[in-house]
C-alpha cells in the first residue's frame, strides 16, 4: 500500500462511472476498515448465537440465503485500519497536495524575526 495507489482510489471515488466508484470504495474499505465477510462452519445455531454474543459482530443478521445450512456467512464490521500505517499514507497524501514553499522547516531563521524580536506578519 503506497500513497499514490490510495490517492488514485480516493480520486476514483468521485468518478462519473459508478463501477469505478464502487471498486475504489471497496479497495478503500479493505485497507481502512469496513465490511468484511467471514465464512464460518458451525454445527448448530446455538454456536452462532454464542459467536455473535462473544465475538466482535455489531449486527446479528446472518445471510442464510448465501450458504448451506452448515456454512453460514456472517458479515462483521471491523472498525479501524486493516493495514498499519494507513494514517501515515493519508498524511502523505495531504502533505503532497500542499504548496511545498510554505511548509514549516524546523526552527525559524533570524530573518523570520524583526530586529525588536516581534513578529512581522507579511501582508496577505
Amino acid at each position: 500500500m503506497d500513497a499514490s495507489t490510495v490517492r488514485s482510489w480516493l480520486v476514483s471515488t468521485a468518478d462519473a462511472d459508478a463501477d469505478v466508484r464502487r471498486r475504489a470504495e471497496l479497495e478503500l474499505k479493505k485497507v481502512s476498515g469496513g465490511l468484511i465477510v467471514i465464512v464460518v462452519v458451525v454445527p448448530s445455531p446455538s454456536l452462532i448465537v454464542a459467536f455473535l454474543r462473544h465475538g466482535s459482530a455489531v449486527g446479528p443478521w446472518v445471510d442464510k440465503t448465501m450458504s448451506s445450512p452448515e456454512m453460514l456467512t456472517i458479515p462483521l464490521r471491523v472498525q479501524g485500519e486493516q493495514h498499519p500505517g494507513f494514517t501515515d499514507v493519508l498524511l502523505d497524501i495531504i502533505q503532497a497536495e500542499q504548496n511545498a514553499s510554505i511548509q514549516l522547516q524546523g526552527t525559524p531563521t533570524p530573518n523570520d524575526l524583526r530586529s525588536d524580536g516581534c513578529v512581522s506578519v507579511v501582508p496577505l
Partner: protein, 179 residues
C-alpha cells in the same frame, strides 16, 4: 464541503477520514467499542507531522485539521506531547502569514483544551506558564493585524481574540494554587 471535494478530493477524503479516525480511536471510546485504538507509535508519528501539515494546508483542509489537533491535545498535552508549545512558538515567530495563522490556531486550541482539563492548581500553573510565554507575542501579532485590511488578517485577529476569550474563561475558573 462539496466545493472542497471538487477542488481536492484526495485531501478532502483523507482529512475527513483522519478526523473521524482520531475522534473514534485516539483513546478507547464507549460509543466505538469495536474501533481499533490507534497504536502508540502511530500516534507519535501523527503528532510529529500534524503541525507542519497544518501550517501548510489550504484553509478548507485546515478547518478539518483543527478539530483533530483539539482532540489530540485533550488527551496528550502536556505529558505525551511536550514539544507542542515549542512548535507553536516557532509558528508564531515565523515571517509567513499561513504559519503565523497556524500558530494562532494552535494557541487557541491549547486554550480550549484547558477548558476541559481537571480544575486543579497544577492545570492553573501550566496554563499560566503558557500565557506568560506566548501572550506577549500574541499581543504583538494583534497590534500588527489591526493595521491590516485584508480578510485574512481579520480572520487571524478573530482567532487571536478568541484565545484571549478562552484564556480569560480558564483563568477565572481554575483555582489559584495555594488557595
Amino acid at each position: 464541503m462539496s466545493l472542497l471535494c471538487l477542488s481536492d478530493p484526495p485531501s478532502c477524503s483523507a482529512v475527513i477520514y483522519l478526523k473521524n479516525r482520531v475522534n473514534r480511536a485516539w483513546q478507547r471510546q464507549e460509543h466505538y467499542i469495536n474501533e481499533v485504538v490507534i497504536p502508540d507509535d502511530a500516534k507519535a508519528r501523527f503528532r510529529d507531522r500534524l503541525l507542519p501539515i497544518l501550517a501548510a494546508s489550504p484553509t478548507l483542509v485546515r478547518h478539518q485539521l483543527v478539530p483533530i489537533l483539539q482532540r489530540i491535545l485533550h488527551f496528550d498535552f502536556p505529558e505525551r506531547w511536550p514539544t507542542f508549545m515549542d512548535y507553536t512558538v516557532q509558528l508564531l515567530n515565523t515571517n509567513d502569514a499561513p504559519s503565523v495563522q497556524a500558530g494562532l490556531q494552535c494557541l487557541l486550541a491549547i486554550c480550549r483544551a484547558y477548558r476541559f482539563k481537571a480544575s486543579d492548581g497544577e492545570s492553573r500553573v501550566q496554563f499560566d506558564k503558557i500565557i506568560e510565554a506566548n501572550f506577549p507575542r500574541l499581543l504583538a501579532i494583534c497590534n500588527e493585524l489591526v493595521n491590516q485590511d485584508s480578510d485574512e488578517a481579520g480572520e487571524m485577529l478573530h482567532i487571536a481574540l478568541k484565545s484571549y476569550k478562552h484564556a480569560t474563561w480558564v483563568r477565572s475558573s481554575l483555582p489559584v494554587p495555594g488557595f
